[in-house]
Amino acid sequence: MRFDGLGKTLLKIAFLSLLGAGAVWWAALAGMVGDWKVIPFPILGAAGIAYLLLSPRAYPLRYLAPGLFFLVVMVLVPVVYNVYISFTNYSTGHILSKEQAIEVLTSKEIPSSPPVRYPFVAYGTPDYLHVIVLSTPEGTLFVTPRGELAAPEAYEIIDADGDGIPEEVDGYRSLDTRTFLRAHYAAVQRIRVPWKEGWLRLATLREFGYFIPRYRYDPARDALVDQRTGKVYYAGPDRFVAEDGEALDPGWVRWVGLANYLRFIREPRFHRAFGRVFAWNIVWAVLSVVLSFALGLALAILLNDRHLRFRRLYRSLLIVPYAIPAFISVLIWKGFFNTNVGLFNQVLQSWLGSSLRVPWLDDPFWARFSLIFTNIWLTYPYMMLVSLGALQAIPGELYEAAAIDGAGPWQRFTRITFPLLMVSIAPLLIGSFSFNFNNFTIIWLMTQGGPVVEIGSQAGATDILLSYAYKLAFYGARGNEYSMAAVFGVIVFAIVAVISGISFTHTKALEEVSRGL
């Protein structure tokens, strides 16, 4: 026993030492690349794990911590981030910070045609860059490693062959291109040597180029000045705008408070469809759950009957829809439902004449019907399986007692089977409701929210809130309207949270039933 304890302690210490070393290394690495915000994470993480393993009081936490960690990373962080985005203007043209937008705009250059290029030679060693010498038509330029022009007199030059390109400067020999790139590229690429109206910078592997910036930033006015036209673009709330209204891309991200929520209320194109989508969303989730549960339960009761022959065979066959990946079966159903060449219409036509064509996916009512039908097919095996399990948990004596009391099959079902079943199955139904409320996959694969209700409205007849939000996020006005989609995300989250909350309170009442037994 004592050895075991000692071994365990040693192992623990070894593990924690490695962990600590790893955390310090990680933090140091982050510090080296300048990511200061990252540093606390490995340090706090390692400290937290050490506390969990060493403190006896934290013993129960050891088992909860991994779950809690992933809860935070996979659930809480995205929720918080989504809420945060809904208070910003994050969308196409507004994804950078203001500093980055200014940096991008002021680093734009006016291309000179033909390009002005000056060959250069660098002098130094692989560890030290002494000077860069540019040959220009106006003479030789000496550029220090810090990007300043220096007087040629300051250098001692040896140019034995007299071609204007020194062999040695201050005793340093010229570097070949390969060595220069490997050793000094990172520093030299940053250099902008002020020159005439613009700057000189590294343009190719062997040349500097002369460039004129397109915009200059004037911090006093918080404005950009176009160097070709003199036009001034003043910083607006989220982008630079000239007096005539012309705006520059990119703009920047900013906090807009409740503006997106107000936009949702004010702009008809967002809320016009909301009521319709929401109503269908509820109908879709409720009918999917109720009908697939009804079918699953009916089949479970049938299969639960010991007098039924080939029970195992039926059960295996009935589970098949559950075993086929939904991605495949939904696409197959979609093919069946095709109005012109689909299986259903072909069969109907051969029975009832060729004029009959049900617009399975092309008409709002039929599209909703087809979707619910397909979803029942996909989910009833799950409902059947959980019902089978729950049925077997109901004690047989209850039925015997009921039979003696003279209860018929229907009474037995409504008074015994169903209430007792709901105790264990109601939470699953609530889960299934939440899942179907956000069942983006089947909607997207089957109809992509179609058919059309109103041309140009992003919500089709079968769009649920989530697919509507997806369309807003990725097919918005100028590409992506992440912030408006996030508003929808928050609304969906609130709705599902409220419905689930109410439902769980009500299922407590069901538990009373079993306690009464």
Partner: protein
């Protein structure tokens, strides 16, 4: 906040090594193109000593991940992508402008370069593609000289009860139906005096677009075209030899050939004497505005990527029509490739401005309503154009 979130996400994924750093070229390419860049990168490293790293990213992931990663300084130097990403990425400030040497510019297909232009050149094209008339030679030995003759043939051949169709077009699908609209002068965005696309000049309800849609509508009404003919359905029928001719792109050739169909490719015949103009899509490479390696990247792209040998390697790996003319000339004797090339020679680049994102949905709705005979073309297109004007705030 966002930077912090991204840092956390990247640390969790251990992806720190994938960030651009000075002195090393980092490329994001999909699994089809990555091997070519790896080979080119190796050659470049041998010649210059500059390391080139290629990270495989799914084609559909590249745009989104680049949008998140580039501003945080975690993105690559070069991405592979499609020209219709250019407007959005450039509006977001993520792309570097490229200045092509004049002698190199002349070697690229002009439409392909135009496709990557959004105020300035933001990418180097390598392949172009678009739709043409793809036909089953066993059912339609020769492409008629006019579209009206093709309709006449389809009238005889089509029988939905078999089913067999003389002519098909994927629908509702604005991309494939656009040649009908463009033939009669329809357009998406008009061009302003500087040659830039004007997002408030929406041509979906222009007289030409309506005339084209009416021409198409008549085919649906007569039953020559089947409404709701999606990709899965028509490719299945075509592979069974039940469709004689279809408007589609190079991406369908593999399926047809795999089914043993002898396919021919030709430009879409003129409709009432007007030439249909399909959308041209262009694939190419773009450079991050946050790349510290612009001089290296330009050197790599202009001297190692924009060469006949490199472009032929790209073609072998991904057989689309090369945008680099010397490479195109080398492979132009392939009849299928030539058929598509001749078709898109009439074409227009698909608009690359970010406002295009708001066009697809409304336009697709209108085309569905036309195909289903729910609305007359004029009113369907008018509604779509008005909805787009509302979203874009155009009066």
């Amino acid at each position: 906040m966002r930077r912090l979130m991204l840092a956390v996400a990247l640390l969790v994924l251990g992806a720190l090594a994938f960030a651009a750093e000075p002195g090393k070229i980092l490329i994001w390419a999909d699994d089809t193109r990555a091997p070519v860049f790896e080979a080119l990168g190796k050659a470049y490293t041998e010649a210059t000593g500059i390391p080139v790293e290629v990270v495989e990213v799914g084609f559909n992931e590249i745009r989104g991940q680049f949008t998140t990663a580039a501003p945080a300084g975690e993105g690559p130097d070069i991405i592979i992508g499609a020209h219709d990403w250019v407007g959005e990425l450039a509006a977001n400030g993520l792309l570097a402008e490229l200045v092509l040497p004049e002698e190199l510019k002349a070697k690229f297909d002009a439409v392909a370069l135009q496709a990557f232009t959004y105020g300035a050149l933001y990418g180097l094209p390598y392949a172009r593609e678009g739709v043409a008339l793809v036909y089953n030679k066993a059912l339609l030995p020769e492409v008629p000289a006019t579209f009206e003759e093709l309709i006449e043939f389809a009238r005889q051949f089509t029988d939905p009860t078999v089913p067999q169709y003389g002519f098909a077009v994927q629908n509702p699908d604005p991309y494939h139906e656009f040649p009908f609209l463009s033939a009669f002068g329809g357009y998406i965005f008009g061009v302003d005096e500087e040659g830039k696309l004007n997002p408030c000049d929406i041509g979906l309800d222009s007289p030409g677009a309506i005339e084209g849609a009416e021409y198409l509508d008549a085919l649906f009404e007569e039953g020559i075209l089947a409404a709701g003919m999606g990709w899965d359905i028509w490719t299945g029928l075509f592979a069974e030899g039940r469709i004689a001719a279809v408007i589609t792109g190079p991406w369908a050739i593999g399926i047809a050939k795999g089914a043993g169909i002898d396919v021919g490719v030709a430009p879409i015949p003129p409709m009432k004497g007007h030439t249909p103009k399909p959308f041209v899509g262009v694939q190419g490479v773009m450079v991050s505005a946050f790349s510290p390696n612009l001089p290296l990247v330009e050197d790599f792209l202009y001297n190692y990527f924009a060469t006949k040998e490199a472009q032929l390697k790209m073609y072998e790996r991904d057989p689309r029509i090369p945008a680099f003319i010397p490479a195109y000339e080398e492979v132009a004797d392939d009849p299928i490739l030539r058929g598509f090339a001749e078709s898109i020679a009439n074409g227009v680049p698909m608009p690359n401005i970010p406002e295009m994102a708001s066009v697809w949905g409304a336009w697709s709705d209108a085309m569905a309503a036309i195909g289903n005979q729910e609305l007359e073309p004029a009113s369907a297109l008018k509604q779509a154009a008005d909805a787009i004007r509302e979203v874009l705030g155009c009066k």
